[in-house]
């Protein structure tokens, strides 16, 4: 079920990536070779003739992304089926070998054709898997031991804060909660009998000690320290169901089962920064619905449709999220990209021409050019060109449609659409480049392209790609002057700093969820706005902090980040929803780096999409540690990983305390 025409194109052999190096402009893969083997009829990965430089792929697709690298490898996929035409390939470490997963956000416009590819079924086949599980013991859960001791601890801490708990004066509600916990422990002790097993015995001792802590704190009118539940590790047989098609052998669609939404649940080693996943573990009880899709040959997909997940009542950021999961083993990077074709989505790498269009579009947004008449006209002209090309191709190929069944017709139409997009692209790029040049004060598109700041190559930053702003690239000296005496700063905790540096990224909540750091997003659209957005990280424009004022990440040359095209800022905490009628000098958000340079409020925020690579070219100028001990600890961690410089600066000069 390939997305491209099989008649007019050479197949493309995907080029493995080089080992990860210092982030910078992404190198295009070498010219495509013609594969010796015939393309897979179902899921061939093809590009138009590689003779044209513009048709060459922009990002290579790795055979096996770096195993355990939590933020994965970013790739660009042709067409506009995926948000920003991008996907991330992560190879999670696992006992059975690496497990490669493609993570992407499907654009809402592409959802209909994706859903057309799914045969919704209730037929399933059970698969039983042995899994290690952690959890509370049944006696604990039955008597709610952890819950009751925590309730007593909460009551002590609350009344101390409220001022009505002092030595010799215990509120009756607190006393009652302590007594409830005592009664529960006593009942649980009776239940397990005179000769409890070692697990029950250890659990009861754990809770008896915690309850004693609570009583002592209550008597002394002091806060209770943390009360952790007792967790037991064991092995359990877990039954997993996979959707299957009953008997309809002629149906080319894939079997999909609608179920309650989940999120992948990798684990992240806080010391090594390695992400692991057994291919099974998922966070459940996620607000929303998803399709579990059987792609065959051990490949699966999970998709959360926009159409059945309301942004008001379900997890906002889950909508449109797609995972394609390979069976355990090496070399599945290209496979998971190919499998996009089974879902009617474009499954070939992005070409250079497509990349330049994306670059121009990112600059139009960043430089606030979308309202300019010339730009609007260029975009409309481009769309018309593509439509005309589509019609021409349809007339040329109409005779090939005779006798096709519904599924073949759908593929025929899809191929024409994608070919029209590809053929029209060079002209669309030229038209948009001319318009953007005109509204930014350049004589011609060629003159704009000749400026030093014009750089239509995506840059790798962590597991994602960013585009540069040419206006910033062309005015760096002025911007450096505007930021004089100021820094971009992210204040964090000692544990937060260590975790970020172990992972190597300051990552958004969505990205952290894929990495196994975050338990999920869990927010409706309104909550997402209120908490500042799950898809961004933020820094503040502040005076340069002193080196002992940690823990902080500090960019003393903010212009090193301001060349990115994906930020916006506000000179106040706007809670994502500023009332336009009340917007004053603090409230409105801006993408103008010169306005951002003049932010004055201590609560100003500059939001960057996805995150920032802390160990690469975008890395901080200074890392202010919590203490000298922490500085030594992080220094040792860097040395063990072979990290000697950050953004060209020796780590001895970067790490401060």
């Amino acid at each position: 079920m390939g997305t491209n025409s099989k008649t007019a194109h050479a197949s493309y052999s995907i080029t493995p990536s080089a080992p990860a190096a210092e982030p910078g402009p992404v190198e295009a893969a070498p010219p495509a070779e013609v594969s010796a083997t015939p393309p897979d009829d179902e899921i061939a990965v093809e590009v138009d003739s590689p003779k044209e430089p513009g048709a060459q792929p922009l990002t290579p697709i790795p055979d096996t992304p770096d195993v355990g690298k939590p933020f994965g490898e970013p790739i660009l996929v042709g067409g506009a089926d995926l948000h920003a035409s991008s996907a991330t390939l992560v190879s999670y470490a696992g006992a059975e070998g690496p497990r490669t997963v493609l993570h992407a956000l499907v654009s809402e416009q592409a959802e209909d054709k994706l859903l057309d590819a799914i045969h919704v079924t209730k037929e399933t086949a059970p698969v039983q898997v042995e899994q290690t599980v952690h959890g509370r013991l049944p006696v604990d859960e039955q008597h709610e031991l952890a819950d009751k001791i925590i309730a007593a601890a909460k009551s002590v801490n609350h009344h101390i804060k409220a001022g009505d708990l002092s030595v010799g004066n215990l509120p009756s509600t607190t006393e009652q909660k302590i007594n409830d916990a005592k009664t529960a422990i006593s009942a649980a002790t009776d239940d397990v009998g005179d000769s409890p097993g070692p697990a029950d015995s250890a659990m009861l001792a754990h809770y008896a000690a915690k309850l004693a802590d609570v009583e002592a704190a209550a008597a002394a009118a002091k806060n209770v320290g943390h009360v952790n539940p007792y967790l037991h590790e064991g092995v359990a047989i877990v039954t997993v169901t996979m959707p299957v098609l009953a008997s309809d052998a002629g149906d080319q669609r894939v079997a999909g089962l609608l179920r309650d939404a989940t999120r992948i649940k990798p684990t992240l080693d806080s010391e090594t920064g390695q992400a692991s996943w057994n291919g099974m573990a998922r966070w459940e009880k996620v607000a929303g619905k998803e399709y579990a899709i059987n792609l065959g040959d051990g490949f699966q997909a999970v998709y959360r449709p926009y159409s059945v997940n309301s942004p008001k009542t379900t997890e906002f950021s889950l909508r449109g999220r797609l995972e394609i999961i390979a069976p355990a083993g090496e070399g599945h990077g290209p496979d998971v990209v190919k499998r996009l074709g089974q879902l009617n989505l474009a499954n070939r790498p992005m070409t250079r021409a497509e990349g330049e269009y994306g670059y121009l579009a990112a600059n139009v947004k960043a430089q606030n050019l979308a309202g300019k008449t010339e730009v609007q006209a260029a975009i409309a002209t481009g769309d018309q060109l593509e439509e005309m090309t589509r019609q021409e191709l349809f007339h040329e190929r109409a005779h090939l449609a005779v006798g096709l069944d519904d599924a073949q017709l759908a593929r025929f139409a899809k191929d024409i659409q994608l070919d029209a997009h590809t053929q029209a692209l060079p002209t669309k790029v030229k038209v948009l480049r001319e318009a953007v040049a005109k509204v930014t004060g350049h004589q011609t598109g060629d003159a704009l392209a000749a400026t030093a700041g014009y750089d239509p190559a995506p840059r790798r930053s962590g597991g994602w790609l960013t585009w540069n702003r040419f206006d910033v690239g062309n005015s760096m000296t002025k911007l450096t002057a505007a930021f004089k005496g100021k820094a971009l700063v992210h204040a964090t905790s000692a544990t937060g700093l260590k975790a970020m540096l172990a992972n190597g990224v300051l990552a958004s909540t969505e990205r952290r969820t894929l990495m196994g750091v975050s338990r999920g997003v869990g927010m409706s659209e309104d909550q997402d706005k209120l908490t500042g957005g799950a898809s961004s990280v933020f820094l503040r424009v502040l005076g340069k902090p002193a080196s002992h004022d940690g823990p902080k990440l500090v960019w003393d040359q903010p212009e090193r980040l301001m060349h990115r095209a994906d930020y916006y800022g506000a000179n106040a905490d706007t809670y994502g929803a500023v009332n336009p009628s009340k917007t004053g000098k603090y409230g409105s958000s801006t993408r103008d780096p010169f306005k951002i340079a003049h932010f004055t409020s201590p609560a100003n925020e500059v939001m960057f999409g996805d995150g920032i690579d802390l160990l690469g070219a975008e890395g901080p100028s200074r890392i202010l540690c919590d203490s000298k001990t922490q500085r030594d600890e992080i220094h040792a961690m860097f040395t063990a990983k072979g990290i000697t410089h950050i953004a060209g600066k020796p780590i001895d000069d970067v790490l401060k305390a």
Partner: protein, 147 residues
Amino acid sequence: MNREIDLDEAERVLEDLVTGRTQKRADDLLPGAELVIDGGQRVALARHVRRDTDEPGLFWIRPLSAAFQDPETRLPVFDPTIIRRRALHVAAARRDGPRLHLELVSGSTVTVLPARSSRLMALQEFDTWMTTISDGEREGLEALDHD
């Protein structure tokens, strides 16, 4: 009682609200505060507030989103990055019975009031989570100086 108050009094009222200090409840739920911005969605506020040392009109707070349930412990958990500290940069304050109305320099209008229904439940879950995390992490959250 509906009157303009200065920032010092606003700080005291805000602290009383988030800690539930002056609220009495007949049921067993520990009282606290919720926040409304420009008439939008109501959200619970964690039980801590800090006035900025450099900017006296700026109060740091922590709005709460819904908790997740940890499948291992069956207890609620929060992601500190999601419930990150936020700022109220106050231009003017007014007290109206148990409510605190704040005009922010951004032009937004904020009301802080005793928490009810789902916001009160979110606070109970937040209290549970705060009891299960390490003392250092809890103190870090209460200090409101980390992003």
